[in-house]
């Protein structure tokens, strides 16, 4: 299955009438699972550029529901798509169950230099390439400029300033919170801890070093515990009807979110359009800025695919060429992972009316460059993220110690990893 296609395709088509079963004459139809709206647009572009490639697109659900189906199909050995969308943090978990093809063996090793380094780190293990990065979520804050003006605060540059502003706002305006801390969202907690220098896993094959409890969690826990105890921040769940309304109606002044946040917000908070601005995440140390990632996804080729080479051609084109990358950024508003696009002036200068004409991409492009590059995900990420959400969420809703939650997590995850047959160091 090496590079026989384009050439032999022409030759074979001459005989197609005589030999109707000649396989090379048939365009290959690749099955794709993705939850990205309107992906068909870019897939059609890909078919136009590569006439031998056709696509059958299925939305198998966003994240969790898709993973459940993918796991079932991989276990069964049939039914999995050729190409599948995975969140960046889940790539290693699917590689662990040997569900993904090694893209290095499909000639993708030369792609590494094109991508933002931390996203490349998320999809690779040593020389092995498990997926190609598609979009990312460097963190930042988006805030209501009108509320900030009315209460006389600037978007906080440090976490100290953030805490002061949170307490001050509670005093002057009982109906408004500076922010809602969604501790039941393990991905959100992870992104903020990533910024604080948290590196919970070092993965070396089936050998894991697990340091969930660390200086980073201690600092993080002590900081947020004070704000929770003082009721200076709300701690409701995110992505609920109530939460959408709270953002749209100005009950929260700041949303600590990622690069996909601005467009996501504009979909349900149109009533507050024009009042929002984007800014960098508050820093622990303003002199040495750092950042974390929250969300983002990748495209992988499944190990069970019968058309790996063709699928490789497809994702190399979709995620490596500038035309589809621009389409993803401008039509679906995926935050780019291609270095070239992040430095592109027309991308950077795009004004967003929702943000009062601010060129929000500039903020998040800078945020992207500040993300720590050596973060590693565990090979059982859905378990891990769910446990963070459970433990931290319970503290946020029912009281208790946030620091204690990380003690519990450390012990529980180590026990789980050992049960799963990993050798674990702490």
């Amino acid at each position: 299955m090496k590079k026989i296609h384009r050439r032999s395709l022409l030759a074979a088509s001459a005989f197609a009438a005589l030999a109707p079963r000649a396989r090379a004459a048939e365009p290959v139809t690749l099955t794709v699972w993705s939850w990205l709206p309107n992906l068909q647009v870019e897939l059609d572009m890909c078919t136009a550029a590569n006439p031998g490639l056709k696509f059958q697109l299925t939305n198998a659900g966003q994240a969790g529901p898709e993973y459940a189906k993918l796991r079932t199909a991989l276990k069964a050995g049939t039914g999995a798509p050729d190409i599948v969308q995975l969140e960046l943090d889940m790539v290693r978990s699917f590689a662990q169950v040997r569900g993904l093809a090694d893209l290095a063996q499909l000639g993708m090793a030369d792609m590494s230099a094109q991508y933002v380094p931390y996203t490349w780190q998320e999809v690779t293990e040593g020389r092995r390439i498990n997926a190609l990065p598609w979009d990312s979520g460097p963190m930042g804050q988006i805030y209501r400029e009108d509320i900030a003006k009315a209460h006389g605060f600037e978007p906080p540059r440090t976490w100290d300033e953030f805490a002061d502003a949170a307490k001050a706002l509670r005093k002057t305006s009982p109906d408004t919170y500076l922010t809602n801390a969604t501790f039941s969202d393990g991905g959100w907690v992870t992104g903020l801890l990533w910024q604080a220098g948290w590196r919970p896993f070092q993965v070396d094959g089936d050998h894991l070093t697990i340091r969930i409890k660390s200086d980073a969690t201690q600092r993080f826990a002590a900081y947020w515990q004070k704000l929770i105890d003082a009721r200076a921040v709300d701690t409701s769940a995110g992505f609920t009807t109530d939460w959408y309304q709270s953002l749209a109606r100005g009950r929260y002044a700041i949303w600590l979110t990622a690069a996909w946040g601005p467009v996501f917000l504009s979909q349900f908070a149109q009533s507050s359009a024009g009042k929002w601005r984007a800014a960098l995440l508050p820093q622990w140390n303003a002199a040495a800025p750092s950042n974390g990632n929250y969300g983002g996804s990748a495209l992988a080729i499944t190990a069970t695919s019968q058309h790996k080479q063709e699928a490789a051609t497809a994702i190399r084109w979709l995620l490596g060429q500038s035309a589809p990358a621009r389409a993803f950024a401008s039509k679906q508003f995926l935050f780019p992972v291609l270095d070239s696009l992040l430095k592109d002036q027309s991308f950077l200068d795009t004004p967003y009316p929702f943000f009062g004409g601010q060129a929000a991409n500039q903020v998040f492009a800078k945020a992207s460059s500040q993300v720590g590059t050596d973060f590693q995900w565990s090979p059982f990420n859905d378990y891990f993220v769910a446990q963070i959400g459970n433990e931290c969420g319970a503290v946020a809703s029912s009281g208790g110690s946030l620091e204690g939650a990380f003690d519990t997590l450390q012990a529980r995850v180590v026990r789980f990893a050992r049960q799963q047959g990993f050798t674990v160091a702490t």
């Binding site: 169950v97 009807t241 109530d242 309304q245 709270s246 059982f380 378990y383 946020a396 809703s397 799963q420």
Partner: protein, 306 residues
């Protein structure tokens, strides 16, 4: 009732004389048996086999005998789910069945206007899929902008947070009651309709009040139907899944991944990838339900209505 003694039994030989080949019953039963085997027996057997193994991410698969079951018996997450549901059922089931019975009796008395319209209205919630029902209630419960909260604000009283850990079981019970009162009402109503009118007439002749007729004549006559709804409700309670799973999205920090035994089994299989252990949890849950149902049957059998 000695009248039954005078009805002659059909001659036994008639069953033997039934024409047609012996294979006919098997043929007629085949569609059911095939589906039954495919969708019940085979999956159950497969789950049973799964539960005897342990498949790990790094260590591969190995036979573990009954170890998974031993682990479930000592798993506090599992038993806390059962305890949650026991507490839930202790309050929710009697309230729901009492409501269903009261409505059924009212409709059965016939003194109510628009009887069919009411009967339909009470039954409609059951026709709403539980997923949709939970989404509706989840919106109504909203702690900042839900209608209840808005109303409380308008009246200047503090709004209860229906999704907090204190209220969650009651909020869930309310959703489940809303969904299933109509269903149980229909079963009880049908049973009431089958109660011979002579019994009520005789009671009226004896000077019984409508209350006495309802409680002393009708309710005892439909005892079997009440026991049936009770057992269905107990089983349904222990298997509760849709409602807590959806409210989990709205209030994830209150409804953890082991709020009910089925939610726990689901999280084990589809989040933690512990399919084998999840299968064992499901079997133990099945056993718990079987034991509790059997105890209920025993407890309600005296009186002989069976």
């Amino acid at each position: 009732m000695d009248t039954t003694a005078t009805i002659p039994h059909p001659p036994r030989s008639r069953a033997m004389q039934w024409p047609g080949p012996r294979s006919a019953p098997i043929l007629l039963l085949a569609p059911f048996l095939v589906l039954f085997a495919c969708f019940l027996i085979v999956p159950l057997a497969y789950a049973l086999v799964l539960s005897l193994f342990r498949d790990t991410l790094a260590g591969g698969t190995s036979f573990s005998g009954l170890q998974n079951y031993i682990d479930v018996l000592g798993d506090t997450n599992f038993w806390s789910g059962i305890a949650h549901m026991a507490l839930f059922g202790l309050f929710q089931v009697p309230v729901m069945l009492a409501l269903a019975l009261a409505i059924a009796i009212m409709l059965d008395r016939g003194t109510i206007w628009f009887r069919n319209a009411f009967r339909l209205a009470f039954f409609v919630p059951y026709a709403v899929p539980s997923v949709v029902a939970t989404l509706i209630w989840g919106y109504l419960y909203g702690p900042s902008f839900g209608p209840f909260t808005q109303a409380a604000h308008a009246l200047g009283i503090p709004a209860p947070d229906f999704l907090s850990s204190h209220w969650m079981l009651a909020s869930l019970a309310n959703v489940v009651t809303w969904e299933y009162v109509g269903y149980n009402m229909i079963i009880l109503y049908s049973a009431l309709q089958a109660v011979p009118a002579e019994l009520s007439e005789a009671a009226v002749m004896d000077g019984a009040s409508p209350w006495q007729i309802a409680l002393r004549v009708k309710v005892p006559s439909i005892r079997g139907a009440i026991v049936l709804t009770l057992i269905f409700s107990v089983i349904g309670t222990l298997q509760l899944f849709n409602e807590p799973q959806l409210l989990h999205a709205i209030s994830p920090s209150v409804i953890g991944d082991h709020y009910t035994p089925n939610v726990y089994a689901y999280a084990l299989a589809f989040t933690d990838q512990q399919y084998n252990y999840s299968a064992a949890v499901s079997f133990v849950l099945g056993a718990v339900i079987a034991v509790i149902s059997y105890l209920f049957m025993l407890g309600t059998r005296e009186g002989g209505t069976s």
